[in-house]
Amino acid sequence: MISQFKNCFWKCSAGAVAAMTALVLPVLLGFTSLGVEVGHWYLGLRQMQGAADAAAISAAAQYIADYPTNPSSLTYQTVGVNYAATNGYTIPTANVCLVSASGSDNCGTVRSLDSRPIICSTGPCVVVEITQNTATWLSTQLSLEPGTTGRIVQAIPKPTLTARAIVRAVSQTVSTTKQGTDCILALANDAAAVLVHGNGDLQANCGVAIDGGLDQNASGTAVGGMTFNGSPSAVHISNLVVSSSSTNCPGAHCFLYNPATSKLPAANVFTNTATPDPYASQVAVLFATAPPAGVQTGGVAIKTAGSGYTGSGTCTFTVTGGTYYTTSGSPAKFTAKISGGKVTNPLTVTDPGAYTTFPTSPVSATSSCAGSGATFTLTQGCFTWNGTAIAGRKYCSINLNGAGTTNFPAGSYWIAGGDSGCVGFCVSSNNATVTSEAAGVTFFLTNGDGTNSLGTNSYAHVAITSGTISLCAPGTSSGTTCTTTNFGSGCTATTSTSCLLFVQNPAATTSTADGNPSSTNNTFDGNGTRTLSGLIYLPKQTFAEAGNGPIQGCVGIIAKYVDIGGTPLFSNGCLPGNGIGGTTTTVTSWGSPFLYQ
């Protein structure tokens, strides 16, 4: 029987398929399992990567939220762990780390789990690492996988799957603007930077700021403050901001603007606080360029008489040549007498022109009387006020000392040094009425440079002693005319002179005390109504207001000294940009997350 079995074992082919199947099937199943398992790995990797991306973006969102107030917060790690769990994976806190903007990181654990470099060329980056040990997966637990070492068959390997997400927080700059609430800024480092005296009542539907000693004079002890002289003197204001450590408000003279009978509360008074001059840079640009050059009064001489000029009366000549002063420039014009076809006698300069490059002699001119060949020599200098305002011109002074109405066309007026009749902008007649066009005017107060002016050391200032005045700066009128009833409630800064009414050269002679020397005193006095809309900028001199007539309108003041003897009424409505006391804070933070890897 045994011998028969031996013979058959080697010779019989019966059951060969079953035997072969028994031998090959485990191998086939092994490879099949490997294929299934590898597919499972890739599926797992895919899911892990999605979860890592989601966790990293979520953690980055938390980091961005924390950064402005608590940049060292580690809450982002908790969020990363939570959102990894939400997407199906449990990871330890150390698997969420940060590469900071400086390049330092807390990613030691992440590196130990995954040898790939952490790519974050520009921090901050949030990194999330998810790992999975495949040894615990279903197919690796089947019988085909050896459980211990020493087995021959190593059918299915057990890699640790890793997925990493790096999310970079994109840098962004956020500017926060706080609108200023002040409309008066005194720059002197003097306890009497704002002096209210006599029956003076400074009424301001806004705040008063006094900055001496902090922003303007950083090296000195800040003493800038407000002084009252006379028992009726008072202020009715919204708040007071001073650079000194103490001030006279709250006190017997200090009231709220509204209700006017209420004392100014201590909460509305701020000491040891700087208020920078918000217009310094804007104005510096305006004076960085020389004023327009024009022909001074009487500054035309005949060089050659020419020929062929018709008539025997007066002809108008328009100068050719030169470069006009920006867009407001235009040629100079003058009149001359004609006799025998020749120019015999220049009469009057009717328009001084406005040039960047003044026409060089000999100067030709086109004539209203035909003819040709006449040439002239022009003398550059300020133009003496003749009663007719031409925008864009440089005047020695604007002296409104007579009765009648003077209307200023919109534009800029340069007043250079003053002259013997008026050192700057003067209104001295009770019957004078001064108005401007709705598009607004700006008066530049600067020093003289020609023979008609008081010279380079003389700076124009304002001397209003009477009259009815209604002037508006560009951007401050809401109507078609610039009158009391048409002043707007705001000013949009769109041009270099927007909202600026009187602007004095920051190089002007400095007031060493309130109104001292007198040439530095800018008076806005009188019994007439002075309605001004815009900013009066006198950073080195004194703004003085007195008289029974009020100043009204949307007017703001920046001056070294502010002297109040009347009842001016100020509001903040027409100040452009941040107003006075406003701030713009720029904060660099981190914005929308960017998926990096």
């Binding site: 990567q49 999605g50 979860a51 973006i57 979520s58 969020v79 997407n87 929308s592």
Partner: protein, 145 residues
């Protein structure tokens, strides 16, 4: 009796018999593996689609397109999911959903994108429980604020 003995000894046709026995077993195994692979492929498709939809929403979350879940945003998310799945009608066959709003943990804004794709195996559901007719779903939840 003799005939029975001959039947035992005769090996003619044994291969055919064995093949007939093992072929169904192999077929069930092979089709099962095919179904398993197809299932994995569907799960990968759903996962890739959900990730792509979420990525689209994140990248456009700071623009008006996806500040909230506008129809334009939803259309963009679905397009991204179709592209990622390699199936231009993926979101027609599947249920693609998205939401942009407050997170479950109270954080201001979360994006949740889900792809829910139907899967039907070749073999009957009774053969393998792990390759039965079902919907494979993948959801990505992330916080952006």
């Amino acid at each position: 009796m003799r005939m029975i003995r001959q039947l035992h000894r005769n090996s003619d046709g044994s291969v055919a018999v064995e093949t007939a026995i093992f072929t169904p077993i192999f077929l069930v195994m092979m089709l099962g593996i095919t179904d398993l692979g197809a299932g994995m492929f569907v799960r990968m498709q759903a996962n890739a689609a959900a990730q792509a939809g979420a990525t689209y929403a994140v990248l456009n979350s700071s623009t008006p397109v996806c500040t909230t879940l506008t129809s334009t945003c939803l259309a963009g998310i679905e397009q991204a999911m179709n592209d990622a799945s390699g199936n231009s009608s993926f979101c027609s066959s599947a249920v693609c959903t998205a939401s942009i709003g407050e997170c479950a943990d109270g954080s201001p804004k979360c994006i949740i994108v889900t792809a829910n794709y139907p899967y039907a195996p070749i073999l009957s559901d009774a053969v393998y429980s792990w390759a039965s007719t079902q919907n494979y779903s993948s959801t990505i939840t992330l916080r952006i604020q």
